[in-house]
């Protein structure tokens, strides 16, 4: 099948710069797979031009049949997004920003793992490994790097300093795409432990939201002796009676406090109206060829993670941005397009065996930040039940699912406060 081979080859070399960079740096031989190779992002101009061409040539559907966002990403929003994407948007800005940070690739458990690694100038900085989620990437974490490694320039003290490691999840960004099944959250967590050891860290903490939160909690469950504690902004901490009520779809269990009832209401909405994309990626990730072949298809799929973050992203294109700008939104989507990771990233839902929001049994110190526009704002009572060693709990005034990206100052302050207790 000449035809198939040609196509497959094209996909396999979707990141042509990988080879070039590897050759230019320390090429790993069989005996040096653990080598840590410097990496830079340098997508060819032709890839950017082809993306623009495709966006301009979009075949559009008819408009939704309602006047609100209850049927999904609205046509007018998508058209504004596409208009900006194919004209003034400039990927090179975020690529340059990304390349300002030391970036590396190393092979762990048979797979190339890409990561940013930024050391603080301050002696005694606390190493932290920060994990993004879906539909995210290391790009979501860039705003936090300088405040974390260089706190004295950002309202903190030298005692707040972190050495920061930000890996790309397998199948995401510049990390390798698994070719065999098996890269679930526990395996990724084990790889992270290997990564931190390989970097020479003997005491560190971990942080994450979305899939990053599940991976971080798995780190907590595996409890490597080097791991002092973790911080999550999307905890897996629902009480059993709440999980049962959500599964039955038959209303809240009796006796919830006001805070708990509000959290339940949000979760109930998410399970009934907001989980379709996750179920499809869990059931049939490979079937989503449309998001690999259509930039606008990818953009809409990525924008529609949960209703409040969708509204935040839509606002950016309506000229009224909140915590995310048009460039923020498109940087992340463009990154997934250029790395052709739409489906490889979605496959994590298929690999995952951990039911959403079910406590995993984290026994080490854990800190929780509860953002109001998250899928649910966890009540303190639930966090205390799920985590025997809850060292920090805080309800924030603003922010949602992508806290690191949309509320970097708040998240950095949360990390300083929470991890300050473990230094």
């Amino acid at each position: 099948m000449q035809h198939s081979e040609a196509k497959t080859t094209r996909s396999a070399t979707a990141i042509p710069h990988l080879d070039a960079v590897t050759l230019g740096a320390s090429t790993p031989s069989g005996s040096t797979r653990a080598a840590i190779r410097p990496f830079k992002s340098t997508f060819p101009e032709s890839a950017l031009a082809e993306l623009q061409r495709r966006v301009r040539a979009t075949n559009w559907p008819d408009k939704e049949t309602v006047d609100d966002d209850s049927q999904g990403v609205q046509l007018a929003t998508m058209k504004k997004l596409a208009q900006y994407w194919s004209t003034d948007y400039d990927w090179r800005k975020i690529e340059a920003r990304l390349n300002e940070f030391p970036s590396f690739i190393t092979e762990i458990d048979g797979l190339d793992i890409h990561f940013l690694h930024v050391r603080s100038q301050h002696e005694g900085a606390l190493p932290v490994i920060i994990t993004h989620g879906w539909p995210g990437s290391v790009i979501e974490q860039l705003k936090n790097i300088d405040p974390l490694v260089n706190p004295t320039a950002h309202g903190g003290t030298a005692a707040d300093a972190f050495d920061v490691v930000i890996p790309s999840i397998p199948g995401y960004g510049f990390s390798g795409k698994p070719t065999e099944s098996g890269w679930d959250c526990p395996r990724i967590a084990r790889a992270w432990t290997t990564l931190m050891k390989r970097l020479g860290y003997t005491r560190y903490v971990a942080q994450g939201g979305d899939w990053g939160a599940l991976i971080t909690e798995q780190l907590g469950v595996q409890a490597a002796p080097e791991l002092l504690g973790i911080h999550v902004n999307l905890p897996s901490a629902l009480p059993e009676e709440v999980l049962k009520a959500l599964a039955a779809g038959a209303g809240a269990p009796a006796g919830l406090s006001g805070e708990e009832a509000r959290a339940f209401e949000r979760l109930d909405y998410f399970f009934k109206k907001g989980l379709g994309y996750a179920i499809e990626m869990s059931n049939r990730p490979q079937t989503l060829y449309g998001i690999a072949d259509s930039p606008v298809g990818l953009a809409a799929w990525f924008c529609d993670h949960d209703i409040l973050s969708y509204r935040l992203k839509a606002r950016a294109f309506d000229g009224n941005p909140g915590g995310l700008t048009r460039d923020d939104v498109l940087d992340n989507i463009t990154f997934a397009w250029l790395t052709n990771t739409a489906i490889s990233s979605g496959r994590l839902y298929h690999e995952n065996k951990l039911p959403f929001f079910v406590p995993m049994g984290v026994k080490i110190p854990i800190a929780v930040s509860a953002f109001p526009d998250e899928i649910y704002q966890i009540p303190r009572s639930w966090a205390e039940r799920a985590y025997p060693r809850l060292i920090h709990y805080n309800r924030l005034e603003q922010g949602g699912h992508f806290a690191a990206w949309e509320q970097p100052k708040l998240l950095v302050q949360e990390m300083r406060t929470a991890f300050g207790l473990l230094r």
């Binding site: 094209r10 449309g290 998001i291 072949d293």
Partner: protein, 423 residues
């Protein structure tokens, strides 16, 4: 597209209207005549597909496999000829008429036998009138197909709103109940004062609702996807709870089959029921559309075994008794050319009726059970769901699309099913 269809319909207006042309109730002749440029653009897009990497398993558990779709796309973008399908469709008398504010497209074939029983057949998703072309002659002209003149039908095959050549609703509200009412209006407009109705998939829900609405002209219905699951079984499936203890072994087997289908196979339906407008990739990417439309399961496999088997039947001619690769592409191409991927999926969003639990159908009902369907409703369940069950039969072969896959078997079922209602 809407405008284009209307223009085309207007151009095609010739003779035999029962109302003046400018009346909404006019019945206008219709021919499909897509422009050559539309077909060329489709080929161009197929051949320029941006492919993801292959699935990380060696089976179909992650969705439509890459190699299968690339083989199909290779043929689709080169040798496949939609004109053959279009010519076959245009052999049938087709019309458009406005009902309840919306242009409805339909095929209308009168039997040469005057006493024939009028029958309206409704397709489902991801189907179209093309799924029903093979049964037109056997049903309207039975004596040419080994059956008797007493078995003849006058046949009406409408396109659901938002599907094929029917208009796309621009406002919410075209629920299956409303479609059921529109079908009665259509049959009356055609001058039929007594008729029967048939359907599978969404068509099955529409005919159940016609049965519930029980217009005096409707003598009875036939379904090939009986909505006969007891409420207590459905509740257990939804809540992931234990099945009721009092099921017979046949009932238990079927309940378990449905339970698996709900747990692993329903992502596409949930995505369309909650956020249909987010699926921009289906309208912008031919391979995205093809994979999505093919990944409906049947009782044998997902993608439907009947479809993947058809892809190996590379006969380009017409094949009476077997589904071929051309059949599969004909249907997908019609969705592409009419740009109905999103408008068709909105039916999932519109629907509020329990899909597998018929209620209040008091008129005569006939049920055919196909061995490869999602589930094989036991007679006990059919009798409970449909108090006036006039016919129940387990067909020897066929699955979710029996009229398309096994037109002989399907035609024979309809003759037997409706025999007792003639006279």
């Amino acid at each position: 597209m809407t405008e284009r269809i209307s223009e085309r319909a207007l151009q095609a207006q010739v003779g035999s209207q029962s109302a003046p042309i400018d009346e909404p109730s006019a019945i206008r002749s219709f021919h499909s005549s897509f422009r050559e440029t539309e077909l060329a653009e489709l080929s161009r897009r197929i051949n320029a597909s941006n492919w993801p990497e292959r699935e990380t398993v060696r089976d179909q558990t992650q969705g439509v496999p890459l190699a299968l779709l690339q083989d199909l796309a290779h043929y689709w973008g080169s040798e496949y000829d939609f004109r053959k399908c279009e010519a076959r469709l245009n052999e049938q008398p087709q019309f458009i008429t406005e009902i309840d504010g919306l242009d409805i497209h339909f095929i209308h074939v009168r039997s040469p036998h005057e006493q024939a029983l009028p029958l309206i057949i409704t397709h489902g998703w991801p189907g179209s009138i093309l799924h029903l072309l093979k049964v037109i002659d056997p049903l309207t002209n039975p004596t040419a197909h080994g059956a008797s003149a007493d078995d003849a039908f006058h046949l009406v095959i409408p396109s659901l709103p938002g599907y094929g050549f029917s208009e796309k609703p621009s406002r919410a509200g075209w629920s299956p109940e409303r479609i059921a009412r529109a079908w009665v209006e259509l049959m009356k407009r055609l001058g039929y004062s007594k008729f029967v109705a048939q359907g599978g998939d969404w068509g099955a829900l529409v005919v159940d609702l016609m049965g519930k609405q029980a217009a005096p002209e409707l003598l009875g219905i036939h379904t090939n996807l009986a909505a006969a699951v007891p409420a207590k079984v459905m509740q257990a499936i939804h809540a992931h709870g234990p099945l009721p203890p009092d099921l017979s072994s046949e009932e238990r087997t079927q309940a378990e089959k449905l339970s698996t289908f709900f747990a692993t196979g329903l992502g596409y339906a949930i995505a369309m029921a909650t956020r249909p407008q987010t699926l921009y990739g289906l309208v912008d990417s031919p391979i995205g559309l093809a994979a999505w439309l093919m990944d409906l399961g049947d009782g044998d496999a997902k993608p439907a075994a009947a479809l993947t088997e058809a892809l190996h039947r590379i006969t380009t001619g017409r094949c009476e008794d077997e589904l071929t690769r051309d059949d599969v592409l004909d249907n997908i191409t019609l969705y592409w050319l009419t740009k109905t991927a999103l408008s068709s999926s909105r039916l999932y969003w519109e629907n509020k009726v329990a899909f597998f639990e018929a209620s209040g159908v008091a008129i005569p009902v006939a049920v055919s059970v196909f061995p490869g369907e999602f589930y094989q409703p036991p007679r006990s369940w059919a009798e409970r769901a449909y108090p006036k069950l006039i016919y129940y039969n387990r067909a020897e072969k066929g699955a979710h699309f029996p009229a398309w896959e096994q037109p002989k078997v399907f035609s024979s079922e309809l003759r037997l099913a409706f025999r007792s209602l003639r006279g």
